[in-house]
């Protein structure tokens, strides 16, 4: 598959010398949902703003469907919709007027049917004549999405769409995102909520300190990086783990009725067969087996903390 957005060694040094992006390379594939996961100050907004033409990079380039985002900015930007992190809206304006304006600004002929469809999809239709300042925060966020969708983008950037949004609304937002994907829109969303990335994304990119630490298929990421745990319930209580099994580093539950084996799915062999054989040699009878996998959160925390980049946020 060819990348619909191709980001090539994007660097951004802000005035004052702070390096917010340290050479980011990223290919976004058509039709996917990519979640950019990173703590506050990681450079997510800087990355998105630079792609969308709001921030000038220090070096690097971006291609959108093959169009250079500088030289062929009309073609490139015409494909992109941006839902900014900050709620930037003119409060006196009416919802539908603001959405119509966005469509016109992107050079598209008026299409009331499309505007209605978008507003209905975002449950804003009955608020279409309301002034924006009269809306709740969640509704304002949806107005921003409506504005971005008004000009029928092929790529949609959502910068922290659910920051500061309560749980019920967040689920609603997730449904909206899933629906957009079903309509064929490529979606890049930034978030610092792991569950969000886990619930929505096809691929996950982890960004910290201006560096993209990894981008990977969500499933594969969890398999590759995730540690799995095998919990073995025992038929009979044991007091200690037999010495013959010491190489497995088993952990015995306080009640003595189960042992837990941690293994890395990345390893050549997991050692499970050997462990089971060992158990049976030691005369231990199994009652049940259960495996569990670490969540993205564990992976993320491991990467960001243990990782390649010690915190550089302090420099900001």
């Amino acid at each position: 598959m060819t990348a619909i957005v191709d980001i090539k060694s994007l660097r951004k040094v802000y005035k004052g010398g702070f390096e917010a992006l340290k050479g980011v390379d990223l290919q976004i594939e058509e039709g996917e949902i990519l979640a950019l996961l990173g703590p506050n100050g990681a450079g997510k907004t800087t990355l998105i703003s630079t792609i969308c033409g709001i921030t000038d990079p220090t070096s690097g380039e971006v291609l959108v469907a093959g169009h250079n985002w500088r030289k062929a900015y009309r073609q490139a930007r015409g494909l992109i919709g941006l839902v900014p992190q900050e709620i930037n809206l003119e409060g006196f304006d009416r919802v539908i007027n603001s959405v119509r304006f966005s469509r016109g600004l992107f050079g598209m002929k008026p299409d009331e049917a499309h505007i209605e469809k978008v507003l209905r999809q975002l449950s804003l239709w009955d608020k279409k004549d309301a002034r924006i300042r009269e809306l709740s925060g969640g509704m304002k966020r949806r107005v921003l999405i409506a504005k971005a969708l008004s000009h029928e983008p092929r790529v949609l950037f959502l910068d922290e769409p659910t920051a500061g949004v309560d749980v019920a609304l967040r689920k609603g937002m997730w449904d909206t995102v899933a629906e957009l994907k079903a309509n064929g829109v490529t979606i890049i969303l930034t978030t610092h909520y792991i569950e969000e990335a886990e619930a929505l994304a096809d691929r996950v990119g982890v960004i910290n300190g201006g560096e993209l630490l990894l981008v990977e298929d969500k499933q594969r990421l969890m398999e590759r990086m995730g540690r799995k745990q095998l919990t073995i319930e025992l038929q009979e209580k044991i007091d200690s783990i037999p010495a013959s099994l010491s190489e497995f580093d088993l952990e015995l539950a306080p009640d003595g009725r189960s042992v837990t084996y941690s293994y890395d799915t990345r390893g050549e062999r997991t050692g499970i067969t050997k462990l089971l054989a060992g158990l049976s040699e030691a005369g231990i009878v199994l009652r049940d087996l259960k495996t569990s996998q670490s969540s993205l959160e564990d992976i993320f925390v491991g990467l960001v903390e243990g990782g390649t980049t010690p915190s550089k946020e302090g420099a900001a």
Binding site: C52, I54, L82, N88, N97, F101, G104, G107, K109
Partner: protein, 253 residues
Amino acid sequence: MSFIAIWSIYKYEMFRFFRTILQSFVSPVISTSLYFVVFGAAIGSRIQEVEGVSYAAFIVPGLIMLSVIMQSLSNSAFAIYFPKFIGTIDELLAAPVSFFEIVVGYVGAAATKALFIGTVILGTASVFVDVHILHPGAMVAFLVLTCISFALFGFIIGIWAKNFEQLQLVPMLIVTPLIFLGGSFYSVTMLPPIWQTVTLFNPVLYLISGFRWAFFGISDVSVGWSLLAIAAFTGLCMTVIWWIFRTGWRLRN
């Protein structure tokens, strides 16, 4: 060129204007009437005539210029400052439009508003004095060009300004004095010779002079110079704006 985008910006800006149309209409009517009471009636009764034109009539072009310049300047400055202030400018920067389209939309709307107010003032003035226009075509041309050039200038101020104080600063400290000293309410020939020479460095003089010529056929400087001054000023503003969008000065991080 995206005409749809230009039209969208223009319409959006005009919409804001129409929301407060009454205010936009009433305030120039009142202020113009006041000028006529003060300058026309009080002072005019002493000055009588300037170069064969009654003083009350003589100040009409200056009065229109004064309002039109201030209006186009402040409308345009505010129109672009406001999105910068509340952050909606990002939408413009991310849109597939060139600086030219953005400028035409905003400046066009600001100039239209100023033109509207200029017309209202002319209408109000004709209630007080018999306004007679010698060269109507030239009058309209000067008026339109002044609106556009000062709206362009205002656009630059709006981008340059980092806060509301700065937004007011240039109109108040520079432009208002230039207008008053540019012969809005007197003929330069009424000044001592040294001040006549100093006044020649005031760009606004050329606008007012040309505009007044269109009304009465009298001018402080030749009409050719007036046209040249407007053209140069417009060209200069366009160049500065082009540079602003190219470099992203005060627009992009």
